[in-house]
Subunit: 324 residues, 2 copies
Amino acid sequence: MPHDIRILTEVELRAALPLDRAAVDVVETAFAALARGDVVMPPILSMDLPQANGEVDVKTAYIPGFDGFAIKVSPGFFDNPALGLPSLNGLMVLLSAQTGLVQAVFLDNGYLTDLRTAAAGAVAARHLAPAQVSVAGVLGTGVQARMQIRAARLERPFDDVLIWGRNPDHAAACAADLSQDPGLTARVAGSAEDVVRRAQLVVTTTPARSPLVRAEWLHPDLLITAMGSDQPGKGEIAPQALAAADLYVCDRFSQCETSGELEAARAAGLMPDTPPELGQLIARALPRPPGCVICDLTGTGAQDTAIASHALGLLGDAGTVIRA
Amino acid sequence: MPHDIRILTEVELRAALPLDRAAVDVVETAFAALARGDVVMPPILSMDLPQANGEVDVKTAYIPGFDGFAIKVSPGFFDNPALGLPSLNGLMVLLSAQTGLVQAVFLDNGYLTDLRTAAAGAVAARHLAPAQVSVAGVLGTGVQARMQIRAARLERPFDDVLIWGRNPDHAAACAADLSQDPGLTARVAGSAEDVVRRAQLVVTTTPARSPLVRAEWLHPDLLITAMGSDQPGKGEIAPQALAAADLYVCDRFSQCETSGELEAARAAGLMPDTPPELGQLIARALPRPPGCVICDLTGTGAQDTAIASHALGLLGDAGTVIRA
C-alpha cells in the first residue's frame, strides 16, 4: 500500500533547522526520557571495514511519547579527504512509532548529528555550567568546536572564547569564524592549559587518544564538557582529572564506560562507582552543584530520534515527497 | 559536497527486477563470498517495541568485490493489518564501499527482501535438489510460498506443485495464483505429510513455532528448504527430522543455531557438530550428495548487499535523482 515519504537534503535541513533553543529543548527531552528508563535503545550496530579504511555505525532508539523513531546510518571513510570528500556522511530515516512505516529520509550528510551533538552540549551547559560564564574555551578546531561554542552561548551569554588546537592555522581559522558571531571575540590560546585555567566553560571536541586535560588545571568554577570520545581507545581527559572533579556526569553509563572518558579512568582503577547520567540530573531538577563538573557525552540514539522528530515537525512543505 | 542519490520506489523496483536467474546468480555469489570468510557481517541490530507490538531489525554486510554495501531496515508492526496496512515494510540503503557515500535509497517496502529470500531458495535448489523434480511442494500460503515455488522452478522445471497451509482458503488462493504460471498445475494437498511424501523439493515458508515436518515422512529423493524460521523460538522441522536427514546445510551457522531449525535440534541434544554452510558447498562445487537434504535459510545481510548492488546495476535511469 503506497504511502508518502518525505525526502530532505542537507541544504533543506540546514535552512529549516538552525541550532537554536528549540533544538536544545527537544534533545533535553530525550535525555530526560533516557533517565526515566522507558527508552528502548539497543547497542550500536558497528561494522569495521579495514579494507577501505572505513567504518559504519547504525544507531536507533524509541522514546515513548514521540510519534517516530530514527535509524541513523553514520559512515566514516578516512581516505575520503584525499579524494576531496568529507570523511563523515550518512543519513537518517524516521519511521512511525505506531506502524513502522517510513515517514522521512533525511539525506543530511551528518548535519542532524552535528546539530543534536551540539544541542547536547547546550543541555550540559544549561544544567551544569556555572551561572556566570565570562570566558568559554574549546579544545579542537573542527565543525563541533564552532557548533559547541554557539550552542553553549544559547545558555550562557559569554563574549570571550579561547581556542586551542594542535594546528595553529586551524585554530586561527576557527577563531576567525567564531569572531563573525555578533558580540563574540574569539582568540587562539597558547596552550590547552591556558584555556582550561581561564575559562568557566570548556568543551573538548577532539578525537584524542592521549589525554589533553590534566587534573592540576581544574578549578572550582568550571564545567568541562568532553564530547570527542565516542569509541574505545579515545579519551581527552586524564583519569586523574576525572577523579579530581567534584562531579562527573555521563550521557549513558553503558556507553561511557566502554567508549567515553570513563573507559581509561576505570582501567586505571579510578571511578569505580556508577556515576549519574545527565538525564537523571535533569529529571531531578537539582541546582548545579558547586565546584568543577565534567560531563562526558558519547552520543545516543535517543538524541537522533529527538532531532529527527523535531525536524519533521518543522519542515512544512520542504523537500520532495515520493509515493512508495 | 553534494552528490547524486537515486531514490527508487517499490513499483520501480518490481518493474526493473524480476525474479530471474540473474537475481539467483548474484545471491549465489554472496553465499560463496560468505564461505570464503572475507565478508564482514556484524550481528543484526534488533529492537523490540512491545508498546507498539512491533520490532525492527537492521542488517548489513560488506562483500569484497562489490562496489557497494546495503543497510537494510526491516520493521514488523503486527497490529498494522487492523489498520489496513501490511505488517512488514522497510527500505534498503546502498552505500559506496569505497567512500561510504549514500548511492541509492530503495523504498521497497520489503520487496528486495522477498526477492533475495526467494533467490536463496533457488540457490539451494540449484545445488541441493534432486536432478529430477517432477513434483514440488510448499508449506505455507503467503508471498514467499508463491515466490519460492517460482524461484525453484528456475532451477528444476517441474510442472506440479502441492500446497498445504493451515487455512484452506488461503491454500486455494495460493494454488489459483500459481496455476496462472504457464505450464504449472498447483493443487491443495490434504496434509503436510502428503506434500512431503510426494514431492522431491519442498519449501517450508511458515512462522511455525511447533514443527510441521516429521522424520518419518522423509525419503531419499528429497530437498527440504526451510526458510520460515528467522527468530529464536521459531521452527518448522522436527529435531528428529533434522537429525534423520542425510545432509543438513545452513546459510550461516551462527544464525541458524540461535534462530533457525538448528536451535531446537541442538536444544534437544541432537546435531552437536558444526554443519556445513551453503556457501561452502557452492565453493567446493561438489555434486549433490544422495539422500534427503535439509537446507536451513535464516537470511543474511550478504544477500541484501548482493541484491541491492544488482538492483543499482539494472535500474538505468529509473527513479528520482536527488542532489544532497
